[in-house]
């Protein structure tokens, strides 16, 4: 693989993120304006006219660059609208970074937005092209698809279903506890484990609290060349690695796939770490924001990231390894679980937490001097997905 990456060539110098939630009073336009205004106000060295180009990630909240250029009344700037399922926000960031690294632009903005709560339906909606009606994705919902990890994982590793349930509950409990410390999170209270385990069933053994929050929100980032970063802030965050993998959906057709891993994640982690020079993720990563769309997803991701041995994540989770005070804090902002999951915004929301933590601005959930953060964003379902991983850090590299 000749994925050379752009380590230390670009940096984030400003970010914004709206509160996530069921924002009945906010339109998609409002969310975009709010996130961009917050970002610009927090980055006084960047004038809006300085931003040369925009990338907008959204799953279904508008098409084309006009979705951004109209509400922001942009002055005839290039706006690229990208979509890559739930990784759409990360995809806008990745492409924006490449645009700066290529030298095409000096200053760009990556934006992500989703307005989910205008539909009146539960969960995510898909805009599928006309079909023959035979694809299971057409009927099976996302929680159902991810719930299939649970029996498969228990069968593969001989894990007692009760212990598996405990681990799933612990993931939900931890992410809600983290979200309780986050003023922008959709859910901001600690949820007792008994409540998690007695909530209504959604799919398989997944209950309401095993599922990420369905919400509205937007987030954005300003990206410049690394050597220019200190003109705008004393504490830029440098981009060390960016990887995106779209799998051949092998797991959906190959009996060898056992629903206890995401091969796409394994590959994107390996790629991003190689670009960033990370050889021992457990020691070199200070915090990880991962795609905890459902509690079994976070469990399997711990193994795919290399944070846990195969078949051991459930034990590490119950041991508290990934809590704020654990050996490797995961989803310190509450994750998709309690921060909420406005699809196109989520990838940038993960980077927003990395931004806050690495700059010491994470308030009550601030970790002790973190230096390197990993964000992971997944789109699709087990066996058929895209996976994005970024690694960002505080240290200015030498490869510029």
């Amino acid at each position: 693989m000749s994925s050379r990456g752009i380590a230390d060539r670009v940096a984030i110098v400003g970010m914004g993120c709206t509160p996530f939630g069921e924002l009945w009073g906010k339109s998609a336009d409002d969310l975009l304006i709010d996130a961009v205004q917050e970002c610009l106000e927090a980055t006084p060295a960047v004038d809006r006219q300085d931003i040369d180009a925009y990338w907008l990630g959204t799953l279904g909240t508008g098409q084309s660059g006009l979705t951004l250029s109209k509400p922001l009344a942009l002055d005839y700037k290039p706006v690229t609208r990208v979509e890559n399922y739930c990784a759409s926000g990360s995809e806008s960031f990745r492409n924006a970074c490449y645009a700066v690294a290529s030298g095409a632009y000096d200053t760009v903005m990556a934006v992500g937005v989703e307005k989910l709560k205008d539909s009146g339906f539960s969960g995510l909606l898909r805009g599928d092209p006309p079909s023959d009606g035979t694809a299971s994705e057409l009927s099976m919902t996302a929680p159902a698809a991810f719930s299939m990890i649970d029996p498969a994982y228990c069968a593969r590793y001989g894990v007692d279903p009760g212990k598996m349930r405990d681990a799933m509950t612990h993931v939900a409990w931890k992410n809600h506890a983290n979200g309780a410390l986050n003023p922008k999170a959709q859910f901001r209270s600690v949820v007792p484990k008994e409540k998690i385990e007695s909530a209504p069933l959604v799919a398989g053994r997944l209950r309401v609290f095993d599922c990420s929050g369905v919400s509205d929100g937007a987030a954005c980032a300003i990206i410049v060349r690394a050597e220019d970063a200190r003109r705008y802030t004393d504490t830029p965050v440098y981009v060390k690695g960016l990887s995106l993998v779209a799998g051949p959906a092998m797991g959906s057709v190959d009996p060898a796939y056992d629903y206890t891993t995401f091969p796409e994640v394994v590959r994107s982690v390996r790629d991003a770490c190689a670009q960033a020079g990370i050889t021992d993720p457990r020691r070199q990563i200070s915090l990880a924001e991962v795609h905890d769309c459902f509690t079994p997803t976070e469990l399997v991701l711990m193994e795919d990231m290399g944070f846990s041995e195969r078949g051991e994540a459930w034990r590490d989770i119950l041991n508290g390894d990934f809590e704020l005070g654990g050996r490797l804090p995961v989803n310190p902002d509450g994750g998709l679980k309690s921060f909420g999951h406005p699809v196109g915004a989520s990838g940038l929301r993960m980077l927003y937490e990395a931004w806050l933590q690495l700059r010491g601005q994470a308030g009550k959930r601030q970790l002790a001097s973190p230096r390197t953060a990993l964000t992971h964003n997944l789109g699709g379902r087990p066996g058929s997905c895209v996976s994005f991983v970024s690694i960002v850090g505080t240290e200015e590299g030498s490869r510029t």
Partner: protein, 470 residues
Amino acid sequence: MSAGLLAYASYLPRHRLSREELGAALGTAAGRGNRVAASFDEDSTTMAVEAARSVLATVAGPLPSPDVYFATTSPAYLDKTNAAAIHVALGLDGTGFAADLAGSARSGLAAWRAAAASGGLAVLADVRTGLPGSADERGGGDGAAAFLFGEGDPIARVVGAASRTAEVLDRWRPPGRDHADAWEERFGADSYLPLIRQVAAEVLAAAGLDAADHVVLTSPNTAVSKRAASLVKGTLSTGGTPIGHSGAADAGLALAAVLDTAGADQTILLLSAADGCDALLLRTTGELARRRQPAPLAGQLAGGTRVPYATYLSWRGLLAREAPRRPEPDRPAAPPSARGEQWKFAFTGTRCTKCGFTHLPPARVCRRCAAVDQMAPARLADSPGTIATYTVDRLAFSPSPPLLDAVVDFDGGGRYALEIADADADELAVGTRVGLVFRRLYTSGGVHNYFWKARPVQPGQHPRGGSNEQ
């Protein structure tokens, strides 16, 4: 009539409605026992496919594509030939004729006569719906039977036939309604009884017989069907409908039940009184004992699981239930359905001729070895499989929530995520064995989304239901 009967099979849906529960719910006397009920995802087309699959499975070796004559009083479509979907679902090659004979109980006999006259497959299937509290609701039944006629060693030959036609307002239903009206049953019975005696006497006399070994009599008229055991007697057995009036399938199911037990070189007199009366006289051969359907009708009838009355009513559209807060699915689109005809209707994928990897749905580029356009078709509709993982989706739209889904790995290669049919969640586990059944996933915009589902198979059970004893 020239062609011999080569094979037969019946199909009964798995669900049973308790008449005692029905009576208790409505505060009426509904009798005892169970009514055989098609599931929410079954219709006359899907049940016809299942019965016909069983028939074709009993015939050794490749067959020339038989003509298909499909009879029903509950067609899934009008203006569009339902037998076409049946034809494709059976994996037939499209070179044959396929037509519907739809509308009345007598359509079943029409399909039978057409196939017997020129060879081909007669498939008789019906879903009989009655209003809550009606005789049709408690006394009817849903099911299918299929008969293959052609050259070769027959299991039985048609040795005589006779018919009478009469215009009798005994049972009728205007188009667009799914439940029938009937006149006072004694009026119809008095109209039919002389005709039954006439055709029976005529066909026996022509064959030089005083009586047949086996006699079965079916009729939509309940006063006639109640007297099936006494009107025309057989020397060895006399009977009627096995599951209650089942429309165009009734006579076929009754005949299948006799063929399950009849001996060699015996005569079977089939009488069907509907808008006249038809008699068919068959003589069995020594082949019958070797080529009976694998799962006898009595065994199919003895199995089954209870469906709550309220659930049954919602399946028939007689009790509207609140749907999950999810959008209804889009209707299947015609061009992709046509391009994927062999996939959607016949469950035919592709297998890479370079590396042997099986692709469901069909693929042009091998996902294992990346060979391009090196594929051969692979029909897996009759391949058993094993559940790799599964779930119960309580959020998804379904005509009968919750939706059960499983990832199925087929014996000999191939994986696909399928909906589960005819099972509760507690019947599913990693490792559960399944077979495929042809079902209607949902109907949207007036278009039925036909596709295949996986159904758990118990050890010793025939993949399409009933016990496997010979």
